[in-house]
Symmetry: D3
Subunit: 196 residues, 6 copies
């Protein structure tokens, strides 16, 4: 099959972490497409409460979850992308960094606006968005609530192996201290003031 | 007339959008100067609620409004400038990117501080600042209130031609969803996390 | 003494401004170490209320305060470092830009996490953190309260010589206007929208 | 006339300096188009032998030469653009920073390749390219040969006013010393090693 | 099998294009390792004679060649990485962007030096390096010589589908003109002067 | 003595490595000035033949050589600065990053041009430039010739401790291979193509 006959679709997220809502979305897309490009956004961010995991860790989580879910990896690309401040360059940057694709799945209005100048944008159907979303999961991890049903077992295991639970709690405490502005000494010693 | 005899004055804004307060300011300056350099700040930002229009769109709006206002374009320069994180480099960057100028109009205290080390800074006189300001106009556009008297007809028309009203509404919804943090799936798919 | 026999320790802050808590910390470290590398973080930021002083001004303040405090400058390095968005690269960047060091003093949890992969991290003991912290001092300067006991005399004098009190007040007014969003004209003319 | 009815064409150069070949090209384009966007490439480069003039100086030269040539400035835009390392993003960056345009004039093969994915690319007709080219003119200036017939009088005058002849000679000597590698002390003190 | 039990090895190249020498190397590594991370260096470069293909095109070529070669994709990661000017940060950047890895294959002395501070570096055995190298292949393509035996059939086909032969010839002509410095008009219109 | 009464002078180099010509220059300046700011240029470059040592290593060398030379460190600042592509911003960047200074020593014509717009530029007197220059010393190290008389004993020792002789030889071989273009496989694996 020539590459031009392949229907390849991109889906974009930060995947902090990759959860069952993401997995379900990829399954949906694979029903209607030959291949999926999973784009890891904000690849340069890590070790913040919003973005606790490195791009490399996220690549590994996504691959493991797809394997565990029985998805054929020969139909999948996983590509980390660093942010671009000029929104008008965001879509062209995808074109430069990704295998050619003919559609984009996104429920995000801005993404839909920017990409719809160039190609088809489809809306994903999410089930139970309140549970299956990254902020909710990071908060549950931080608070010691149950979260293992929201992600693949392999994601759950990997987060434990890299000591991700403690990492998230450390980052949460660090950033709440920063917001207090009551503890400038701590702030003073922050590595990347810009992101906090 | 040699270039050194010309009184050339810079005026700086984001012009999101260019409105009648800006136009009036340029008229004021042209009474006391030969030429005006209109500097479009934050040129790299676009497709956010704070900065909905690209640098190119803003260049076009400003030019059209000045023409409509009967201003002689041979006395005008319009130069887009991308942001510089080091404030101490901001004025030298203007010097590198702009035709030489001998004064700056600004009601902004920080600009006045940074520029006054180098040249004369004058305070503009604004009439009815509450109406004639970009935030007010963007909010009116978003809410469907009347705003056509706040800008030149050519700016009004251009915003409609580029579907700017819908763009602003989409961006406003997008960013309020982000701030909710209740909708991580949407956040997850945001192209430039940094700016939101 | 060969360089490898020297115990050299890094300590990191923004030093906006350098105060007696910082000075005390450096004294503590010098009791247990041969040399201290004082790292000025966010070196590219200046002329904001959070970061009012340039890297050069901070270098000068720190040196003057250490001299005034009778500290032997042959045991001190002062190195400005610009921010790095990728937190995972923060420690390697220190390694590239600093003389080799074998320990880091920091009460900051994120710094401790990032550096502890690589070397020993020690917790400083701060006395009276509520008084001796940069935010507190900048607020006192802005409000016209007494702050001369919180910093070295040479820091106090230098801030006056560079007209730092007025600078801080101008920046505070500028940024509170920005946060109001009631004064778009002022915002419009801001040099670095990103940092405000 | 609505903006969509206007035929607007972009032309790109470094304009080091703007010469009569450039002027002639703009005249050609204005015969077939309503408006021309003159894009100043490599806007961030200056004070090198290849790029002696700042973006601001080039804006001024171009404007003065067009005025001298009797060209109606209401049909002209002059926009400086900084380089972009990812060639695939070059054309999208023009789209972000420029007023919308429907064709591009360029005799350059790479530009033609990159832009032809998006819009019409036309080949300019140059007369006497050996004379009317920037390298030739910079070399003549450096060597003290005659060059006043190759540029507009206003460009010639402006280069003298900003002491451009001496600037070019200084830069030429500086860079030939660098290439010698016989004078490391001089090299050592070079401000931007990357560009030399 | 826990992730920590997996032997994962990185191999780095620009892959302009991916050829049979690269394929053979990956086969070698897979004999001694569980998984290979194929790192596409200089991901931000494209449309130059040295770097004709975009990162996205290279991802696609590599994947297709591995599939054609019967390699199990569940053992492969393909990650594009943009350059980093500070060589001392190069290896830490790999750590941030890649799944964890315990060895690196490279015949390159600088890579060996930089990586050997951190982990095991092994030397690949290349057969017939003079034939199987990117410069040789790009030159053959440009000159119209036979090159189909040097790459996988899927790479050969893909280069034809994206019109890569003409692209290479255009780039070669463009850059030789630039080096001539006889054709400033052409140079003048080059999009990214820095890379040429 | 108030800071404004101090005569502080800047001197700029890459210091790859710091040699006796540099040391002699600093001695000269200290005869006429109170304090010297030693600016380490191209701080972001390292592990190339032109720039073998990291900024941190250079800081250490310079400090050690000054101490060995009996120079009072309380009269010295050592500040690493990363390059700036826009030459017109180079001097303002010094102003942002350095303690205030009133003169600059440089034999470099471009530096003299750029700085003379702002302050006094003085020409250093170098003795035996052919011997005391970085390129000459790096070549001698690479070729195994004698070089110990060209640098301070502490610089000589430090280069040996960090295995600098082998580092230089590795880099020289690496870069000559690159220039050959005969060994694409090696090139392929180069970490920062831009700098080679």
């Amino acid at each position: 099959m020539a590459d031009s006959d392949i229907r390849r679709v991109a889906v974009i997220g930060r995947f902090q972490p990759f959860h069952n809502g993401h997995l379900d979305l990829i399954r949906q897309i694979l029903k209607e497409s030959d291949e999926v490009v999973v784009v890891i956004g904000s690849a340069q961010l890590n070790y913040t409460f919003e973005n606790p995991f490195t791009a490399g860790e996220r690549v590994l989580m996504i691959r493991a979850a797809l394997l565990e879910g029985g998805i054929d990896l020969s139909r999948i690309f996983i590509i980390p992308i660093v942010d671009e401040e000029d929104n008008a360059l965001w879509f062209p940057k995808l074109v430069s960094m990704l295998p050619s694709f003919s559609a984009l799945y996104s429920g995000n209005r801005l993404v839909a606006t920017l990409a719809s100048f160039h190609l088809e944008v489809k809306s994903p159907k999410f089930v139970n968005k309140k549970q299956f979303n990254g902020t909710n999961i990071r908060c549950k991890i931080m608070r010691g609530e149950k979260w293992h049903r929201l992600v693949s077992k392999s994601v759950f295991d990997m987060i434990h192996i890299i000591d991700g639970v403690n990492r998230l709690r450390t980052l949460a405490k660090h950033e709440s201290l920063e917001n207090d502005k009551m503890s400038d000494i701590d702030r003073t010693f922050s590595p990347s003031n810009k992101t906090t």
